[in-house]
Amino acid sequence: MKQKLKEHKEPFVRIAKRVKIEWWKAWGIRGIALVGALLVCAAIIYAVVALNPLQVYKAMFEGAFGTNKRLWVTIRDMMMLLCIGVGLAPAFKMRFWNIGAEGQILAGAIASAACMIYLGTLPGILLLLVMFLCSAVAGGLWGLFPGVFKAKWNTNETLFTLMMNYIALQLVAFFVALWENPRGSNKVGIINPNTRAGWFPPLFGQDYALNVILVLALAAIMFLYLKYSKQGYEIAVVGESENTARYAGIRVPSVVIRTMTISGAVCGIAGFLVVSGASHTISISSAGGRGFTAIIVAWLAKFNTFVMILIAGLLVFLEKGAIEIASRFDLNNFVSQMIMGILLFFIIGCEFFIQYELKFRDKKHKEAQA
C-alpha cells in the first residue's frame, strides 16, 4: 500500500506543444473537425426534429447557392465580410486588438448616406468617388482616435475601440432621427429610390459586380502591402515585439497610428459598401454584427487574405442556409444558430489540436518500468 502511493503515476494523457506540424496533418485535423461537426449537427437535427439531416444540409446549400440570384447575394455578403476582414488584418497583425470595426463601418455608412442625401445631384461617378473618400475618411477617423491614444498614452485599445462602437451607434441613431421618413418611424427607408443616385451601378448586367471588383482589389492591395511593403514589414515587427521594433529604429507610435487609420479606413469603406452597394439605407443595424463576425474571419484565416475568402464564404453560407431551412422545414432561426455554433466550436476548437498534441500514456514504457 505504502509503496503504491509513492509510485509516481504518469497521467493517462498529457498535452504537449507541437514543434511543427505537416500541412497535410493540419488540414486533416481541420477536415475531421468539419466532418465531426456535421455529424453532431446531424445527430441533433435528427434527435430534435426527426428530419433527415442530409435533406437539411441540401436545403442549406440550395439556400445559399440554389439560384443565380441567391448565388450573387451570397457573394455580395461574402465580399462584405471579406472587406471588413481585410480592414482588420493590419491592426491584428500588429497585435492591436481592433474590435471597433462595427463602429468604423457605421462611421463610413453615415458619411456615405450623408453624401447620398445632400449631394444626390452630383454626376454618378463623381458622387460614388466622393462617397468612397468620405467613408474612408470617416472610418479612418474612427480608427485614428484609439490609435493616437494608444500611441501617446498607451490606453487599452480593446476597450477604446469597443466603446467607439457605442458612440457610432448613437450617432447613427441621431442621423436616422434627422433623416427619418416618415417622421417618427425611426427609419430612413431607401435613399434616392427613383434617381438611384449614389447606388452602385450594375456592371456586366450584375447588380453586385462592382462590390466584388472593389473588395477583391482591396484584398489584393492589402495582401501586397502587408507582405512586400516596408510598412507591412514594420507592422509585423511591431506585432512580434515592440522592443525589437524600437531597437531596429522603427518609430512605434507612428506605425500604430498609421496602421489603425488604415484599418479604420478600410472598415469605413465596408460601410460605403453596405449603404451604396447593398441596403441603400442606414439604420443602427447597418453593421449588423459583421464587425465582430469579421474578427473570426480574420483570425481563422491567420490574416491571409485569400484564406479569408474561404472562411467568409463558410459563414455566409451558414447564414443563408439558415434562412432557407427556417422557411422550408418550418424550423425557426434558433436551429440554424445551433448549427452555426456547433460548426464554429469544432472549427475553432480544432486549432488546439494543431497547436498541441495529446500524448497518451505509453503502455510499453509503463510495463518496462514495472
Binding site: 446549400f61 447557392f65 439560384t67 416618415p182 418611424s185 439605407t281 439604420s283 449588423g288 425557426n332
Partner: protein, 396 residues
C-alpha cells in the same frame, strides 16, 4: 497547403454552379405549379404581431383551397436589403403574390415590385401605394383603431369600477408605444377615447420604446408608468414585457391592469390582463389572394374593420368589470352600423378647441382629413394618418 485551398475553393464553386444548373431544370415545374403565395415576416411565431400574420395567411390559404406547400413563409427578415433579397427570391420561386408585414419593409418591396411587374406585391401597414401608383403594388391594413377603442371601453369600465370601489382616486392611464408616428398615435388616441367614453376625467401618459419588440424596454416603460401612478395600461409594441411587469405589480397587491396587443395576454398576466385588440389578418389575406388568383386587379389600399371582420378583441379576462361583455357588444354593433365613429371631432380637443379641419398629416400635407364631423382614419389610404396630439395625453 495553398494548392489544397485552391482545390477546395474550386470545388465549392463547381458544386454551386451545378446547383444553379439544376435549378434551371426545375424551372419548368415552377411555372406549371398552380399558384404560390410568399410572405416576408419581421419575426417568427414567438412574436405576437407576426404570429397573428402567420395564423391569418395559413387560414386564408386553406380557405381558398390551396395546399400548405403553396405558401412560402420567410421568417425573421430585417428591414434592410435582406427584405429586397427575399422578395426577389420569392419571385424567382414562382410566387404570384408576395406579402410583407413590417412597416420598414415597404421601400424594399417597392424596389422589387418595379423589377417584377407580373407579380403582385402587397405590404401591410405601409402608406406609399397610392403615392407610388404602381400597377402591382398595394397596401393593406386593418381598422385596428376600432378594436383599440373597444379595448379602451373595457379598460374604462375597469377604471370606473376601481374608482367606485374606492381603490383608486386618480384616473391615470399609461401607454407603452413603439415609435412616435401616426400608426401609434392613432392607436393610443383611439384607446384613450374609449377609456374616456366611460371615465371622462381620465388622462394618459405615453412612453416610447423606439422598438417594435423589446421585452426589457417595454417592461421598464410599464414600471415607470406604474411608478407615476398609472393604474390602467395598454401597449402598442409586440412583446409580453409590459403585461408581465403589470402582472407582477398586481400580484404584489397593486390595483393595476393592462390591455395587451395582438394576442391574448392571459397566459402571461392571468390576473392583470383585461383583453387585447387584435387584427384578424385572414380577412385581408383571403380577399387579396382571391383577387390575384382570379386575375383581377388588387385595389391600391385595403382596410378592413369590424364591419368586415378584420379586427377583434381577444377573450375578456376574469378581472374585467361587471357588464363589460354586454357593453362591448353594444359598442361593436354601433361601430358596425356607423352610429359610432371613433374619431368623432366632438369627443376630443386640441388646445381646448375642437378641430374642424386638419390637412397636416405627415406625408399627406394638403389632404383634408376631417369631414362629416369626424377624422376619417384609414379612408384616404389604408394606413393610419391620425397624428394629432390631443388634450389629455402627454408624451413623456
Amino acid at each position: 497547403m495553398k494548392k489544397l485551398l485552391a482545390i477546395t475553393l474550386a470545388l465549392v464553386l463547381i458544386v454551386a454552379l451545378a446547383a444553379c444548373a439544376k435549378e434551371k431544370d426545375n424551372g419548368g415545374d415552377v411555372t406549371t405549379d398552380d399558384f404560390k403565395v410568399g410572405i416576408i415576416l419581421i419575426g417568427d411565431e414567438n412574436e405576437g404581431y407576426t404570429y397573428s400574420h402567420i395564423e391569418g395567411i395559413r387560414l386564408a390559404v386553406a380557405a381558398l383551397g390551396l395546399s400548405e406547400s403553396q405558401l412560402i413563409l420567410k421568417y425573421d427578415i430585417p428591414e434592410d436589403e435582406k427584405c429586397y433579397d427575399t422578395a426577389v427570391d420569392l419571385a424567382e420561386q414562382g410566387c404570384k403574390v408576395i406579402f410583407a408585414n413590417s412597416f420598414g419593409h415597404e421601400s424594399y418591396l417597392i424596389q422589387a415590385s418595379k423589377e417584377y411587374p407580373d407579380i403582385q406585391f402587397v405590404h401591410a401597414t405601409g402608406q406609399s401605394a397610392a403615392r407610388e401608383n404602381l400597377p402591382n403594388f398595394s397596401n393593406h391594413f386593418t381598422r385596428i383603431f376600432e378594436a383599440r377603442y373597444v379595448s379602451g371601453v373595457v379598460a374604462g369600465m375597469k377604471l370606473k369600477e376601481l374608482m367606485d370601489d374606492g381603490l383608486v382616486d386618480d384616473p391615470h392611464v399609461g401607454y407603452v408605444g413603439a415609435y412616435p408616428y401616426a400608426e401609434v398615435v392613432s392607436g393610443y388616441t383611439a384607446f384613450f377615447l374609449g377609456v374616456r367614453s366611460i371615465v371622462p376625467e381620465a388622462y394618459m401618459d405615453v412612453i416610447y420604446t423606439n422598438s417594435w419588440f423589446d421585452m426589457t424596454a417595454e417592461a421598464e416603460a410599464a414600471n415607470t408608468l406604474m411608478a407615476r401612478g398609472c393604474v390602467i395600461l395598454s401597449q402598442h409594441a409586440d412583446s409580453t414585457g409590459a403585461p408581465g411587469a403589470v402582472e407582477d405589480a398586481n400580484k404584489g397587491g397593486k390595483p393595476v391592469y393592462i390591455v395587451g396587443y395582438n394576442v391574448s395576454m392571459l397566459n402571461v398576466a392571468p390576473n392583470a390582463a383585461l383583453t387585447s385588440p387584435t387584427n384578424v389578418w385572414e380577412v385581408n389575406y383571403e380577399t387579396i389572394i382571391d383577387l390575384v388568383m382570379k386575375g383581377e386587379p388588387v385595389p391600391k389600399d385595403i382596410a378592413t374593420g369590424y364591419a368586415e371582420g378584420g379586427v377583434a378583441i381577444t377573450a375578456l379576462g376574469n378581472s374585467v368589470a361587471e357588464g363589460t361583455a354586454a357593453r362591448v357588444e353594444e359598442i361593436i354593433a354601433a361601430i358596425k352600423s356607423g352610429a359610432l365613429h371613433v374619431f368623432a371631432t366632438n369627443t376630443w380637443t386640441v388646445g381646448g378647441e375642437e378641430l374642424e379641419s386638419y390637412d397636416q398629416s405627415w406625408g399627406f400635407e394638403g389632404t383634408e382629413l376631417i369631414w362629416d364631423g369626424r377624422f376619417n382614419e384609414s379612408y384616404v389610404i389604408s394606413a393610419s394618418l391620425f397624428d394629432i396630439r390631443i388634450d389629455g395625453i402627454t408624451e413623456l
